[in-house]
């Protein structure tokens, strides 16, 4: 496959590596503030609520609710052409943060706002697995 039609492979950074290490083990990791208790995603050096640096990595429940979704009919790039139609969704984790994902494992037309979903992982290579969600 030519590089130009490959899907955008995430490049973990110093800050995001624990998330991607979790994904590799099929564990969804988010951050929790040890001071105010707030959960956050994506990862940050400080808690975005109280701005304290005492944030720790925790395993999320992997349970979430669909906040909104769309069924993509025209792919973003040729790399996604084989996937259409695919569902791009925002899901709210039970812990609070919202993340973008794909809803898989059901007919796109069956997805609905408010639907309960659970995390699943798609292995893209030995280092990168992508967190997706399926109906719970």
């Amino acid at each position: 496959m030519a590089a130009e039609i490959a899907k955008p492979l995430p490049a973990p950074t110093l800050e995001t590596r624990p998330y991607w290490e979790g994904c590799k083990r099929h564990e969804l990791r988010i951050q929790r503030c040890r001071v105010c208790g707030r959960y956050q995603f994506y990862p940050r050096i400080y808690c975005a609520q109280c701005f304290d640096d005492r944030v720790e990595w925790v395993a999320a429940s992997g349970r979430a609710t669909v906040l909104s979704f769309t069924i993509v009919r025209r792919p973003v790039s040729p790399a996604f052409a084989g996937d259409v139609p695919y569902v791009v969704a925002l899901v709210t984790l039970d812990e609070g943060p919202t993340m973008m994902t794909n809803i898989i494992g059901c007919e796109p037309e069956k997805v609905a706002i408010g639907m309960r979903v659970a995390v699943t992982f798609e292995d893209w290579n030995e280092e990168i697995s992508i967190a997706k969600f399926r109906p719970a």
Binding site: P10, Y42, S68, I71, V88, L90, M100, I113
Partner: protein, 391 residues
């Protein structure tokens, strides 16, 4: 909260667009400079009278110091020179910067020129792919969202919360096309119906092809100066009465709300500065990259209450002759959308409306015009209110 006031202090004295749509015979840089020349001619001044220059960066012909590059190309030597990084909201916010620069004496005569060659310089497919860089590289782009998908998430949420329909979104596209049909400069001029929009190809549910804006070439420029100096120009000034911004997120997955945007703060700040409200607005030029955006903006800018936007756009209310004519040039949906410069065409149209130059699409007795732009995915917002007279 600060007491910033630019009310009645500055005016737009020159405004012009290049040809727009499919413009293969002009490069991106040439479009910037042609827009500049036309706006300077409109203002009746030479390039050497410009002492402030602002541009937006070009996708097609980027330069690290873009404004400096355009100054160099034009052989002008401003004392204030700035490149706006990107995006629809930034493009209008730059007018806010220019107004502040004039009010504080950083410069006297600002030229803002913005253009790009997204269609001829990139191709439609490449333009769409380039714009998808808007997603977070690790946490959004792996899921394959094209730009319409980001806005489809907003449309679906608004539909779920308030019962907004496909036909209501379509009414926005129909109004823009109706206005474009009266604008010889517009890229798409063949009238369309609500059925045409709903029957057009689904791009990202629930958005159809005709809910999405165009991919275009084109440029626009304005000349701004102090309200006092404006009297020395040959054109009828469009005075800045109020302006304000609101910034809520960069990535849609971090939005505080999918149905209420920072247009609310931007609008409130602009109204407060002008001492005016939604009922004082004669014509509105609202950012319409996708139809649901106009519905959300109408609500957040106070033209109707939250959740009523879908009903508000029905029945010709936003068409010429209606209660609030919106996007009288045809907007990004039908006039043109060359990318970053998009909202500049809203400013130049507002100026023409206030001067009474719009011919068949002229809003009768237009005295106060509101322009709103947003960038990113409803991320960064700016509202500006212009008047044919100071208030």
């Amino acid at each position: 909260m600060g007491t910033e006031s630019l009310k009645n202090k500055v005016a737009i004295v020159g405004a012009a667009d290049t040809e727009v749509g499919v413009v293969p015979h002009l490069s991106a840089t040439q479009l910037y400079v042609k827009a500049a020349k036309l706006a300077l001619a409109d203002a009746g001044i030479t390039k050497d009278e410009v002492d402030g220059l602002i541009t937006c960066i070009s996708f097609v012909e980027p330069f690290m110091y873009h404004a400096e590059m355009i100054a160099e190309y034009m052989q002008i030597f401003p004392r204030y020179c700035m490149t706006a990084p990107s995006g629809g909201g930034t493009t209008l916010a730059i007018m806010h910067h220019a107004a502040s620069a004039i009010a504080t004496g950083m410069c006297d005569t600002v030229l803002i020129t913005m253009a790009d060659s997204q269609l001829s310089g990139l191709s439609r497919t490449k333009a769409i792919e380039a714009m998808s860089g808007a997603g977070h590289p690790q946490f959004e782009r792996p899921y394959g969202p094209p730009i319409p998908a980001f806005y489809a998430l907003l449309a679906r949420a608004h539909e779920h919360a308030y019962g907004t329909t496909a036909a209501q979104r379509a009414a926005v596209a129909v109004a823009c096309r109706k206005h474009a049909a009266m604008n010889p400069a517009a890229q798409m001029r063949k009238p369309i119906t609500v059925e045409d929009v709903i029957n057009s190809r689904m791009i990202a549910d629930p958005l159809h092809l005709l809910d999405c804006s165009l991919v275009s070439d084109g440029g626009a420029a304005i000349v701004m100066t102090s309200a006092e100096r404006a009297r020395d120009f040959k054109t009828k000034p469009a005075y800045l009465l109020g302006t304000g911004e609101g910034h809520s997120h960069e990535h849609i997955s971090e939005a505080r709300s999918l149905t209420t945007s920072a247009a609310k703060e931007a609008g409130e700040r602009a109204y407060a500065m002008a001492g005016l409200g939604p009922r004082d607005i004669d014509v509105a030029e609202l950012y319409d990259c996708f139809t649901p955006v106009v519905i959300i903006e109408l609500e957040d800018l106070g033209f109707c209450s939250k959740g009523e936007g879908g009903r508000f756009v029905e029945g010709g209310r936003i068409e010429l002759g209606g209660e609030l004519p919106v996007n009288t040039h045809g907007g990004l949906l039908s006039h043109c959308h060359p990318g970053h410069p998009g909202s500049m065409f809203s400013i130049t149209e507002a100026v023409r409306q206030l001067r009474g130059e719009c011919g068949p699409r002229q809003v009768s007795d237009a005295k106060v015009a509101l322009v709103h732009a947003q960038g990113g995915i409803m991320s960064t917002h700016c509202t500006a209110i212009f008047g044919s007279e100071r208030v």
